[in-house]
Amino acid sequence: MTFSRRRFLQRSAIATTTLIAAPAVFRSGAFGAENPIVVGSLHDQSGPIAASGTPMVYALQLAVDEINAGGGLLGRPLKVIHYDTQSNIQMYSQFAQQLAVKDKVDVVHGGITSASREAVRPTFDRFKVLYFYNVLYEGGVCDRNTFCTGTTPAQTVEKLVPSAMKKAGKKAYIIAADYNYGQITAKWMTKYVKDNGGEVLSTDFFPLDVTNFGTTISKIQAAKPDLILSALVGGNHTAFYRQWTSAGMKSKIPIASTTFGLVNEPTTLDAAESDSILGAYGYFEELTTPASKSFVEKIKKAHPDSPYVSELAACTYEGVMLWAAGVKKAASIDRMKVIAALEDGIAFDGPSGKVALDKPTHHTTRNAFLAEVKDRKWSVLESYSDVKPADTASVCDLVKNPNDTKQYIINL
């Protein structure tokens, strides 16, 4: 290639013009997209936890669509960046980094298991990205950057245990999944059984891949309890309810559970296997309030084959709406301003009723419901309004210690 002075000057001029003009051209492209507020979403849509994650994504999308239909926030539309975390903790870590660093999102809603939450929470703390965890869990997370909108044991187990004991009797046998949720929930069950004058005969933990419950059923019969308290988790563990029924125990000893029916158990089991099992959550699809009915209707209309719309979906919807209320109040998407606004008495009337954020714990004061399975559906027996997250409140005070970031294990 030959170089002439004229060609060199020509090319230099073109290159320089391009370089100088580039930022303006790119930025005008960004102006074209109306500069949306970006909402990150980390939920499992495949793998073993997909049945929990799928309705949560539907609920998040519904909330965002409704906000956009109402003109967005601060005059800007919302845009969701969603990653399917595939029931894999490694994916959580990876996509959390991506949301924070590459996508530069303004808030993240997501995480399902406690393990997944603890995998991503430090990342969002480090990169200063506001984080919402919308799932019922064992309680104790104390972090000013994180809001936990689901129920904790003091809100549900505290209602479930006494009602079940009143119905069945004072001697309980606890069976639970062998990881942090099951272990901690079993402790809460023990506490509430004792508080109500009862006695725990035995507590058995099961690794998640146990499928044969024969010996457990024999052991339970040998112990002769009045009541089974179950915190079994996952598809393999639903085998317990079937083997329990096939041994003819179903009508003899009643079961109350903190996990049964959160996802799909009533629809996967036969009526004979699930009838009269007691459960307590922050929301049931079967609630007949107008807000609940229209919420379920909207989700089922958009996704007719949606799995059960449980507390997980309701809390996700409410979580997004609470965040939106905070942004409106702060009139900014600056993280600290939004946190300050969210701590300042934000509440939202959602499908489960009134949900209010609690300043010292960053948890929610919300309604709790007690229900019983009838013919493969939940039948709501009782509701408790404005239940406080008393467990987390006993260890966590973000007003006094705003720099706290840990999850307390509540000693019982």
């Binding site: 495949s46 058995d204 099961f206 010996t215 598809g235 041994a247 003819g248 003899k252």
Partner: protein, 288 residues
């Protein structure tokens, strides 16, 4: 007294379900040296075939005993023709391919039926011994294990097919010179192994949680049992299933379910250390 009977029943239940779960794998792995990591998914397919046909109105017994093995046998046949037949004698490659296959099957089932599936209730009722309850289904499973053992023994020992199959597994080249087509024998043996696995899935469907990922809970234990059993398909698998099933159930009864699992794995490690050829490598040499 009644409690001992009940524990004995639990042990029987543990052994017979483990044996049923392993028999198909023992045939595929023990005879053909194909490490089928999709074994758990064959079980899952059997369970799904049972549940879906039963919910569609097919009699539960027909769904379990006919539909499940037929369907999974056919699936096995197709898989053998499309994938496995290229992998004979390539142990590591067969692991990789069947692992991929297991992910594919899980993906397909999830796409079609979603993550949740309504199960079938357990047929037969419960009975009581003293003040304890157990289910007839436990006894039925034990009966089925015995029947399957007898059938496999009968076919392998007394039929022409069994003779040809055993000959081909021992020395395919020699069998071929005698006019046997080894490719066809491999194909049918794989299909039979898959069908037996499907039957196991069908039989366990009424007492398990049915999800696309359910196979994962079985595959490790099944391999452990087959390897622990050694080369002899029946005596090896039966003795290893008895050992591990009993250790698991008795361990879980006297300690906790967590230790029950730990004890099984410890027993497997000790067994393989002492008898590297498996139980049948030492005690039932030359048996079926």
């Amino acid at each position: 007294m009644a409690i001992y009977l009940i524990v004995a029943l639990d042990v029987l239940n543990g052994i017979s379900s483990l044996f049923l779960l392993c028999l198909g794998l023992a045939i595929i792995f023990g005879m053909m040296k194909i490490i089928n990591l999709a074994h758990g998914e064959f079980i899952m397919l059997g369970a799904y075939a049972t549940v879906i046909s039963a919910n569609a109105g097919v009699n539960i017994w027909i769904a379990m005993l006919v539909v499940a093995p037929l369907f999974v046998g056919l699936v096995g046949l197709v898989i053998e023709r499309c994938l496995i037949r290229f992998l004979y004698g390539r142990l590591v490659d067969s692991m990789l391919a069947t692992w991929g296959l297991s992910l594919l099957i899980i993906g397909i089932v999830t796409t079609i039926y979603g993550n949740t599936q309504q199960g079938v209730p357990t047929p037969l009722g419960g009975f009581s011994i003293g003040s304890y309850q157990s289910s007839y289904y436990t006894l039925f499973l034990a009966g089925m294990a015995i029947v399957m053992m007898a059938v496999v023994y009968g076919v392998m020992s007394y039929t022409r097919f069994g003779l040809i199959a055993r000959a081909t597994m021992q020395n395919p080249a020699m069998a071929a010179t005698l006019g046997v087509n080894p490719a066809r024998v491999y194909m049918s043996t794989f299909a039979v192994g898959a069908a037996i696995t499907g039957l196991a899935g069908g039989l366990l469907a009424p007492v398990s949680g049915i999800t696309p990922g359910m196979g994962g809970a079985y595959v490790a234990k099944a391999f452990m049992t087959v390897v622990g059993g050694g080369a002899a398909i029946l005596s090896g698998t039966m003795s290893a299933a008895s050992l591990f099933g009993a250790v698991n159930q008795v361990g879980a009864f006297f300690t906790t379910p967590v230790y029950g699992e730990v004890l099984v794995f410890t027993a497997a490690i000790v067994l393989i250390r002492l008898l590297p050829q498996g139980i049948s490598g030492r005690f039932f040499k030359g048996n079926l």
